[in-house]
Symmetry: C2
């Protein structure tokens, strides 16, 4: 049987004990050297490393994790890779993890809570050192698994609800509110709203609610809406802008669910010869780099996506072992005055 085994994996597997044997030391010594842990004499280290290099030994983390009951995996569950904000959050996560030897394992939920639950189960099976999730909406079971796991949990983007452990993000409600205040101050009165699917993008809805509250406090309201069914996109923003103006030509400012949509609005105006700001002001959300490169700098609100990912990791690393009671980090937002509103 042994023979059969050996035949199957033609690559002679080099293991710790193999290295130990050839270096005339015990396994644990090699183990310590590979992990830079414990006191090791320089001579032994060099002798062992020589063997390691000769054999091309790569420690098996699976075995290591099993033995030490901890893995260097960070589970990450995001709703989508299509929406540019999530790759940016991922960038932040990778940036925060740089230099550590933690590996993010990323899964995508497609904005589906049941899919998220399945993903969380699947990630948990790797006994991750921590989990990073987008949003704070989870199924009951998912919530329970997360709470009971005892590991650090960071819920990103949103700080409008109490987190399981760590929340990093901004208050979308108050971002929406402040957008409204800003635009009212600039003299706009006839508000249009151009949005996309609220069921998936709950944060867009929160911003809308905040906007409405600001308007309402000023005795105003959103007088026209144009919503697309699916995800946000520049093309959708373009079409919906045409739609909005057709439905209500009196609108003097359009607030968009995000920059993708708003940039579509800019493009519509540019190609239809509509004077941006004079005839229709445009206001987005996110502060994408692209907005800055447009013929007219987009008026929008900066949400710090990269920072959100990075800080989440930093918070987790502050104390990987224990939760320290709910902790909320507000990464804030910032109005970019721009030239379109």
């Amino acid at each position: 049987m042994k023979e059969r085994r050996r035949l199957a994996d033609h690559k002679s597997k080099v293991t710790l004990s193999e290295v130990a044997r050839l270096a005339n030391v015990s396994e644990i010594t090699v183990s310590r050297i590979m992990r830079n842990k414990g006191p090791i004499s320089e001579v032994t280290r060099q002798r062992v490393m020589a063997v390691v290099n000769k054999l091309g030994y790569v420690p098996n983390r699976i075995a290591g994790s099993l033995a030490s009951a901890r893995s260097n995996i960070i589970g990450v569950a995001i709703p989508s890779l299509s929406n540019i904000v999530f790759p940016e959050v991922l960038r932040g996560i990778h940036a925060g993890l740089k230099g550590t030897d933690f590996q993010p394992v990323v899964g995508v939920t497609d904005y589906d809570l049941d899919a998220e639950e399945a993903l969380i189960r699947s990630l948990m099976a790797w006994k991750p050192a921590a989990m990073i999730l987008a949003g704070s909406d989870h199924t009951g079971s998912a919530q329970q698994i997360l709470v009971q796991s005892g590991i650090r949990i960071a819920e990103l983007m949103d700080i409008d609800v109490e987190p399981i452990d760590i929340a990093v993000g901004l208050s979308h409600r108050s971002a929406g509110y402040d957008s409204g205040r800003h635009l009212i101050e600039r003299g706009y009165r006839r508000f249009g709203y151009i949005g996309h699917n609220w069921r998936d993008d709950r944060r867009a809805k929160l911003r809308y609610d905040g906007l409405c509250q600001a308007l309402s406090e000023a005795g105003l309201q959103v007088v026209a809406h144009s919503m697309v069914e699916g995800a946000s996109s520049t093309l959708a923003g373009r079409a919906m802008t045409a739609n909005l103006l057709a439905n209500d030509p009196t609108v003097d400012v359009a607030v968009y669910s995000n920059d993708d949509m708003a940039i579509g609005g800019v493009f519509h105006c540019l190609s239809a010869g509509i004077a941006i700001r004079e005839r229709l002001a445009i206001f987005g959300f996110n502060g994408l780099e692209l907005g800055d490169a447009l013929p007219m700098v987009l008026s929008t609100m900066r949400s710090n996506r990269f920072l959100i990912g990075k800080i989440a990791v930093e918070k987790i690393m502050e104390n990987l072992a224990h939760r320290s009671g709910p902790c909320v980090v507000d990464t804030g937002y910032e109005i970019i005055a721009g030239e379109t509103a």
Copy 2:
């Protein structure tokens, strides 16, 4: 000691043997049920599943992988998350993996081959079932590790060189060549080139080479260049377009290293009042959705990033166990005539 141990992990760990004990079966029976493998009577299954659910048992994949000497991990190494093409490739990978229980573990190399080597080592330590890499440039050691691992290796984006195992992508050289042919046919003669860092983005260089060859065959050449130091961006494209026209006002068409840059060119022309196509034609590469939403549809070349990721996974899954000799999949490209050239 046992006592201390138990105190440390306050969460009573539910393991296979725990479930087995409570269900009055052996561990292996539970194991078989969890993996849907081997013949199990329906009665036993239900009894066991009841316990599994009551305890919230989640199999430990680390232990499972160690015992079975295989993991369901797919290692992925990409150069960057900033360049939109890689998240799109990732989307394809996730799409291809959907429904399987493989988990991608993604690392970022920042276009650094040594960083890639380190990443490959680190991913290999998880004994992945396969590896997906961007590009076919690797350090010698990395190349060796990959070859010797014996697992399926997919090298994406580029099919201009012989792969280790599987290559999925397009010939950037011939894409560049065909761009040149296309633009010559449309009557352009004074070519400008606007690009970014070739050291990092070797594929952009290949396209440039192809372009030059097409021009050369027609007795033409690139008469002016504007290159930025860093990564591609719309802002850089904008600046470089102004630069190019200042340096050589006779240029009648600008070929860009990619769509990000080209869109910057469109924006420059729009805000400087330069007639696109009449005065300066603009041609990009990638076929980003955004190009389609511009006031004038961007003339460019579609590279099928999503497809590249998806097909790579499909190829890998065709036969996870064995390499079948170098295999190249050409996902092709397609000229989008557009309105800017």
